[in-house]
């Protein structure tokens, strides 16, 4: 078999379905949350009962516009809903309300980072549509069971141009979209629950060929790992067919992760003439300049910009900045703690990525639901910065804060963990030490420099390690050398 990359090229376009994180459904006032008991979140409209009518959710419009702005897309003045007609048990009305000619988001683009550097991927469009319900095939031998809770939840479908030429680029693009929608706050990003899933259009052609080959559509990929495997598998399958003189059928395929293979979806065979037409239950929607500017003002700072700012303005190391900026919750935690603290940002970043992350790991927690709030954490940073405690002790204080919910100051006080930096206290201790050990003082002054560590050790012993080591050394030198 020939090699993809040398003899054959892959052409990949993605259709990504992003579930919008709204309270209610796209066209009904029913709750749109995940995981409710079957058919308990179904309005009369969601069940397709006769006489019911759709009324669009404003937040879904706003979220779609916000997404469009994040990929520099054209937002039209007018957008229209259309019906996509087909029969399926999880599609209650016999049509899906979607968009055809006038989608809410027009042409846009974004930049992905590939092995060969940066690459711009164009976005053809993004449109709003309602999700279908769920068919459960393994409950009964003879029946499929239908749960309509998901029917009518709002999605945007983001359609790319077929501009990705290997599975890694497809994954990079998918990740970039994922970063946008989660940072925009329009999607909860839960892959397990299907909040972010993707159909991949895959075709192959001989290297140098300009015409596109026949494509197959792989449905419902909801993991970054599977999409890479599924695309590679599908491309190999097509090359095999073509090399043995066959032709690729344009069809919908399903990826089976267990077997690492795709197979044709029989249920979608006939559904190829969807008879789109404008939904007569809804009028065209006018998108005003105010609607757009309201969403512009809610545009967050994306990770790449954040990294630049962390490095330039806060003096973080690039690697640290990357790690923090790409984790939205950690970046938020970092920034609010930094605002409340006098400590250097670099110390904050290092401790956050080091000791704090380790603690979260041990606790099996994520930073978004940390039991230590950024302000409390700022107190700990300050205690380190002003020398009250060492970084080593800080780790101990952090654990205690997590366990008890107390402030850093409280823990340090209660457990007597504060370093003795009080010059007068230390001076007293040192004077007494030198008086009690005249021989050792003489020895040091006679040139035995190693004796210095003896004095440091004694002070540490007497203070149970709480003497500020830097200050202790300073004072000792002063007294011994006077």
């Amino acid at each position: 078999m020939s090699v993809i990359g040398a003899d054959w090229e892959m052409v990949i376009g993605l259709e990504i379905h992003v579930r919008l994180d709204t309270n209610s459904k796209l066209f009904s006032g029913m709750k749109a949350s995940y995981g409710a008991s079957p058919n308990s979140q179904v309005s009369f409209l969601d069940a397709g009962l006769p006489g019911t009518l759709p009324v669009i959710n404003q937040k879904a419009l706003d979220y779609a516009i916000r997404f469009g702005l994040s990929v520099d897309a054209d937002i039209p003045d007018v957008t229209v809903f259309a019906r996509k007609n087909y029969f399926y048990p999880d599609l209650p009305k016999g049509y899906q309300i979607s968009q055809m000619d006038d989608p809410i988001v027009g042409k846009g683009h974004l930049v992905i980072t590939t092995e060969d550097g940066e690459k711009t991927i164009e976005i053809t469009r993004a449109h709003l549509e309602e999700d279908a319900g769920k068919s459960i095939h393994d409950k009964y031998d003879q029946f499929s069971a239908i749960d309509l809770n998901r029917a009518g939840t709002p999605l945007i479908e983001v359609v790319s141009e077929p501009q990705m030429s290997n599975a890694k680029e497809a994954v990079a693009y998918m990740r970039e979209i994922y970063t946008r929608v989660t940072h925009l706050g329009i999607c909860d990003g839960n892959l397990q629950e299907g909040s972010f899933r993707c159909d991949a259009n895959v075709s192959v052609r001989r290297a140098g060929e300009t015409e596109l080959g026949t494509r197959a559509e792989i449905k419902n990929l909801n993991s970054f790992r599977f999409i890479e495997k599924a695309i590679n598998h599908e491309a190999r399958r097509q090359v095999q067919i073509l090399e043995s003189g066959g032709t690729v059928t344009q069809e919908t395929r399903l990826y089976d992760a267990d077997k690492d293979q795709t197979r044709s979806m029989r249920s979608k065979e006939n559904a190829n003439d969807y008879r789109y037409f404008p939904d007569p239950d809804q009028l065209p929607i006018r998108i005003t300049a105010e609607m757009i500017s309201a969403q512009k003002s809610r545009m967050p700072e994306f990770p790449d910009a954040k990294v630049r700012r962390f490095v330039a303005e806060l003096g973080l190391k690039k690697d640290d900045a990357e790690l923090i900026a790409h984790d939205q919750a950690m970046a938020a935690f970092f920034e609010s703690s930094q605002q409340a603290s006098q400590a250097k940002a670099d110390l904050n970043a290092k401790f956050l990525l080091g000791e704090f992350s380790a603690l979260l790991n041990v606790q099996g927690a994520v930073i978004a639901d940390s039991r230590i709030l950024p302000e409390a954490y700022a107190g700990l940073l300050d205690a380190m910065a002003d020398g009250t405690i060492s970084r080593k002790v800080a780790k101990q204080v952090l654990d205690e804060m997590w366990g008890t919910g107390q402030s850093a100051a409280q823990v340090i006080k209660d457990q007597g963990l504060g370093q003795i930096s009080d010059a007068s206290a230390l001076t007293g201790l040192i004077k007494k030490l030198l008086e009690d050990n005249p021989d050792q003082v003489a020895s040091y002054r006679g040139g035995n420099e190693k004796m210095f560590n003896f004095f440091v050790g004694q002070i540490m012993k007497q203070t149970k390690g709480q003497a500020n080591p830097v200050q202790t050394k300073q004072l000792l030198e002063e007294f011994l050398n006077e």
Binding site: T22, N23, S24, S28, G29, M30, K31, S37, P38, N39, S40, Q41, V42, S43, F44, A47, L49, V55, I56, N57, Q58, K59, A60, L61, N85, F87, P89, S135, I136, H137, K139, Y140, D141, Q142, F143, S144, A145, I146, D147, L148, L254, M265, R266, S267, N270, D273, R275, P278, P280, Q282, L283, P284, I285, R286
Partner: protein, 95 residues
């Protein structure tokens, strides 16, 4: 414009209607009769005319993203010809 038997089959498939063999020619004739009448629009001069999807001159209105409805599970499943306590049931679908 007129349709033949094959096209009738395609329409029936899209519309999910069952057409018994003995009715095929009668239905084809009756559809062709209507299509003949519809043909009339072909003569009209419509270049440059904006299609009118709706008589309403306004723009779409929307609602706030607020949950206003509650579960109707029992009432809904009671309407179905075939359901268990949680789901609608249909003959098994092979994907």
């Amino acid at each position: 414009m007129s349709i033949n038997r094959k096209e009738l089959e395609e329409i029936a498939t899209l519309a999910q209607l069952h057409i018994p063999e003995q009715q095929v020619s009668q239905i084809t004739d009756s559809l062709n009769q209507v299509m003949g009448m519809i043909e009339h629009i072909n003569g009209a001069q419509t270049s440059g005319v904006e299609p009118m999807a709706h008589p309403h001159e306004g723009w779409q209105q929307w609602r706030e993203d607020v949950v206003t409805d509650q579960s109707h599970k029992t009432a809904l499943l009671k309407l179905a010809a075939h359901a268990d306590e949680d789901h609608y049931l249909v003959p098994k679908v092979i994907e």
